[in-house]
């Protein structure tokens, strides 16, 4: 019976093919050569008419000049202020979690500072991702990355550009696994005055005000935002360090992690003619999550102050065919960290390391557009890094007879936790964007960096972009990047947890990427990115016992892919999603899989405008396949998924806007991996990992004057 059906189906199939063949055999003939030549002559040169109908987001971070994302010589995401509102994100961390191949996770070893893990490159200090604010690096030279527990509220963010893959050819050190460029709002975007407030679970509150206008010929934009949260008290740690040393009775565990934090961010932008001044300052205060010694304590405090100023001059009229860009910038970061290592009943061990990171730089660049089909960028710059420090503590030789009593200032340079340090950098770069043919563009560039303490390095990048068809772009990219060790990684000493290593060498990475950007219809966009990288000399604190030592432990190789989809299924319904896979192994550790970084991530973001001015946004994150460090006896880290919902009503009485959002709707008990400790029973001082934040709800209201 079955056979009979198959044969009938086959016969019908043959018949239908034959019918189609007969039907299509009708004259006239196929397109002839003359017609193709005439068509080519008309359309084979120059831009295409459909470009007029096409829209795309523009990206600055890849080449230094604005370029549509589908043509940019990199794999990148652009998230706008509108997207941020839609997803209900209140911090930069929450924004970045939506980027394909990027996972945000607090670092257990670094006091719950956020790690932006890109394509499996994940270390506790997370110095491999460069954060730029309006194109200027915002990096602590002590940490080599954002300062401890840095958070950025989002009210003043205009857009966030994220470039995955090496970017040292343009941005220099630290643009290693990726670059995050936060562009803040200007006066045109704010255009008036807006104020808002948000309140929600865990005693979280947020108030902001911003104003944009023109005064005496100056374009002025100003924004201030105060955000604070008491932290989720239900993030309970069952066992901690004290259990590992047999003093569980004196432990605060089971007890909640201390995760409160507060930020006061201010932005100012002044623009007049060719001059542009940005000022970003932040005052932040936070706790230390699982504590300085993986022991739950409640008296910790990280007091942070920072200032980032940059003044740029842009002139595209001064010299024919030249666009000149000059910039001078200065960053100041000061952190005063009070650490109570253990519960007082166990040991009153207190530390108060203080550091001041000051960097200043000047750069000049020019873009020459006089050559046919070429856009040549040349630039040079110099930067100075300076680290100052101070310390108070009540233990060790510096405390003398006052062991575990009051804090004592450490004045003996041999006893302090780090020496003052400085370095200088000179660099020069060249980049050419060459339109090889109508549909082919080659971007090639290299940057030469010379450090006063590390010698020199050259990092090239080449990208071939082929507009394969009107709706398809193919990109092939190769790049190298490096990262110089931070002062902390080199010089920390007299520290009970981790000490530096002056013999460290810079980290290096080499990557190759292939990407396809396919937009078959105006309403559907699909992007596939494939990558392979080799990184060497990755720096991490290693060692079976405390204090650990920073070493060039890693020779890591990884590959994987990311698939993105942006589909407007209906006029009022849009689905954005991505899936990322990566597999990274440490070649120095018998090809051990890189721990903690998720091998798979899925993101779904349906967005429904169900009535005019009403929108409902859903987000689903699935974090899967996270492995333990080699030797860690604990099983793989459990997968988890988080669902968020945000309901927003715009344009209430022409001035008001309101939103309500539920985060972690199903109160998923996801886990953040705690660091492996070989000497701890069960593989870690906090063996059951750290719980993610539980269900939270907030409401928001804003008013536009």
């Amino acid at each position: 019976m079955h056979k009979k059906r198959v044969m009938t189906a086959a016969a019908l199939l043959c018949l239908s093919f034959a019918t189609v063949a007969m039907a299509t055999d009708f004259p006239p003939a196929s397109t002839d050569k003359t017609e193709v030549e005439a068509f080519e002559k008309m359309f084979g040169q120059g831009p295409q008419e459909e470009d007029v109908y096409r829209t795309d987001r523009l990206l600055l971070t890849a080449t230094g000049s604005l370029k549509p994302v589908h043509l940019a010589p990199s794999v990148a995401s652009v998230i706008t202020a509108e997207d941020i509102k839609g997803m209900g994100a209140t911090t930069l961390d929450e924004v970045l979690e939506s980027v394909p191949g990027l996972h945000v996770e607090p670092s257990g070893a670094q006091w719950f500072s956020s790690v932006w893990s890109i394509r499996g490159v994940q270390t506790s200090l997370n110095s491999q991702v460069l954060l730029l604010i309006n194109g200027v690096p915002f990096t602590s030279n002590y940490q080599g990355s954002r300062f401890i527990n840095y958070q950025m509220p989002v009210a003043m963010i205009s857009r966030v550009e994220v470039v995955r893959g090496p970017g040292s050819a343009l941005h220099g050190a630290d643009a290693f696994s990726g670059t995050v460029n936060v562009i803040t709002k200007d006066n045109f975007e704010i255009n008036g005055t807006e104020a808002g407030a948000r309140y929600g679970s865990f005693d979280t509150s947020d108030v902001w005000a911003q104003h944009g206008g023109q005064y005496n010929g100056f374009d002025v934009a100003f924004g201030v935002e105060r955000r604070k949260t008491g932290g989720d008290m239900d993030r309970v740690i069952e066992r901690d360090y004290l259990y590992a040393v047999g003093a569980g009775a004196l432990s605060n565990a089971p007890g909640h992690m201390d995760t409160w934090n507060e930020q006061l961010d201010s932005h100012l932008n002044l623009r007049k003619e060719n001059w542009n001044l940005h000022l970003y300052s932040t005052l932040q205060d936070s706790s230390l999550g699982p504590g300085g010694f993986q022991a739950i304590t409640y008296g910790n405090d990280v007091d942070s102050k920072s200032l980032l100023v940059d003044l740029s001059y842009h002139n595209d009229k001064l010299v024919e065919n030249w666009e000149l860009e000059n910039r001078i910038y200065y960053s100041y970061l000061h952190q005063d960290v009070f650490i109570q290592y253990f519960p007082v009943g166990f040991l009153n061990m207190l530390g108060n390391p203080i550091y001041t990171s000051q960097d200043g730089g000047v750069e000049a660049a020019g873009v020459y557009k006089g050559f046919n089909n070429h856009q040549l960028r040349i630039g040079a710059g110099a930067k100075s890094y300076n680290l100052g420090r101070d310390q108070y503590k009540n233990f060790g030789p510096a405390a003398g007879a006052n062991q575990f009593g009051d804090l004592v200032q450490v004045t003996d340079p041999t006893q302090i936790y780090i020496d003052e340090a400085s370095r200088t950098l000179f660099y020069t770069l060249v980049q050419d964007e060459w339109q090889l043919a109508r549909a082919w563009a080659l971007t090639a560039g290299a940057r030469y960096d010379k450090y006063s303490d590390f010698g020199s390095t050259v990092n090239p990048r080449v990208a071939l972009v082929w507009e394969t068809r009107y709706d398809l772009t193919t990109k092939l990219m190769y790049g190298q990047a490096f990262r110089a060790p931070s002062f902390g990684e080199q010089y920390v000493k007299n520290n009970p947890v981790v000490i530096g290593n002056s013999n460290l060498t810079p980290e290096e990475i080499e990557s190759i990427e292939l990407a396809f950007d396919y937009q078959p219809t105006k309403d559907l966009r699909l992007i596939l990115s494939l990558f392979n990288y080799k990184a060497k000399d990755l720096i991490e604190a290693t060692g079976a016992t405390l204090p650990q030592v920073y070493t060039n432990y890693g020779e890591q190789e990884g590959n994987g892919f990311e698939v993105e989809m942006d589909w407007r299924l209906l006029r009022d319904f849009r689905l954005r999603s991505n899936f990322a896979y990566q597999r990274s192994e440490n070649k120095k550790l018998d090809n051990a899989v890189v721990p903690d970084a998720p091998e798979m991530q899925l993101y779904l973001n349906p967005s429904w405008t169900f009535l005019p001015n009403w929108s409902l946004d859903g987000q689903l994150y699935w974090i899967g396949d996270r492995h333990r460090a080699k030797g860690d006896p604990r099983g793989d880290i459990a997968d988890y998924e988080v669902v968020n919902l945000t309901l927003r009503r715009k344009n209430i009485a022409n001035h008001w806007e309101a939103a309500v959002s539920v985060r972690n709707l199903f109160a998923e008990d996801g886990r953040i991996p705690s660091p492996y400790a070989a000497s701890a029973p069960g593989g870690a001082y906090i063996p059951y990992d750290y719980p993610i934040e539980g269900r939270a709800i907030w409401g928001e209201i804003s008013y536009r004057f």
Partner: protein, 319 residues
Amino acid sequence: MLNNRIHQKLLFLFLPLMALGLWISTPVPATAAEGSVAILLSDSEAVYEQQASLFNEELGLPVQVFNLHGDLAHDPNLKKKLFAVRPSLIFALGAKAAYAAKLWTQDHQDIPVLFAMVLNWQHYKLLTGSSNIAGVAAEISPGVQFVNMTLFLPSIRRIGLLYSPLSETIFAQAREAAAVLDLDLVAESVDRSEDFQRAFKRLEGRVDAFWLLNDPVVYTLENVSWLEGRCLKEKLLCVGQTQNLAKMGLALTVNPDLSQIGGQVAAMARNILLHGQKPGEIGVMEPIGTQLLVNSKTVERIELPIPPQVLDMATSISR
């Protein structure tokens, strides 16, 4: 275990969604049918598909849709497939489709061709040597655009524009219209997209408004983005000819009402097919509907003194 099942479900949900997206984007091949009207698309562009759908609704006759996918060489058998349906008329959407239809009907002048959504249609010399072609222009004529611009901002006397060799015909028409309306047309020629910014700067202080042509040399995403910022900075009224420009931030567009073009071509097709009208008698018509799209946010930013009655007349968007 439960978690694993959920994860598998999520993956199975995601992958079919991707597949569904791809499937929907893949055009359905046409099947043979005698005497159909053939619609030929330049590419899978929403503005073409929208017009095809409006045309189909208004025409009330069987149609077959074919897609050039941006290149005549994409499917060498497309011509054969199209002629296999014995088309009584070809409706071409986009310049490439119109040009392909012209080439394919050189020896079949009995098959009428109608075109629409062809930017700068004069550039393609579609009517030269072909008596079977007619269409609807994709732009409002320069004269009508200038009238609308001066209605919007009565103080306009000098209009700036950049043009390339691709838009010389429309430039010549604009010059004539400006002379009739006693307006000064301040024009600069550009040969490459990269020259746009430099040429625009030469207009600075010499114009009261800038008019952006639908010329692919002039109109690139980079140039439009740059222009948007520049117009804000110089508080200059910048005017485009397609709807999406107002959405991207230009203060004003004077564009055809796209909801009427498909219907307009369908009426022409009925006259040809049912009443024996010759395409050569029709020529290229103006779009029957004109739409003024105002970006109220931009207008506010550049502090334009727009009379409220004019704003009432326009369709306003704010973003």
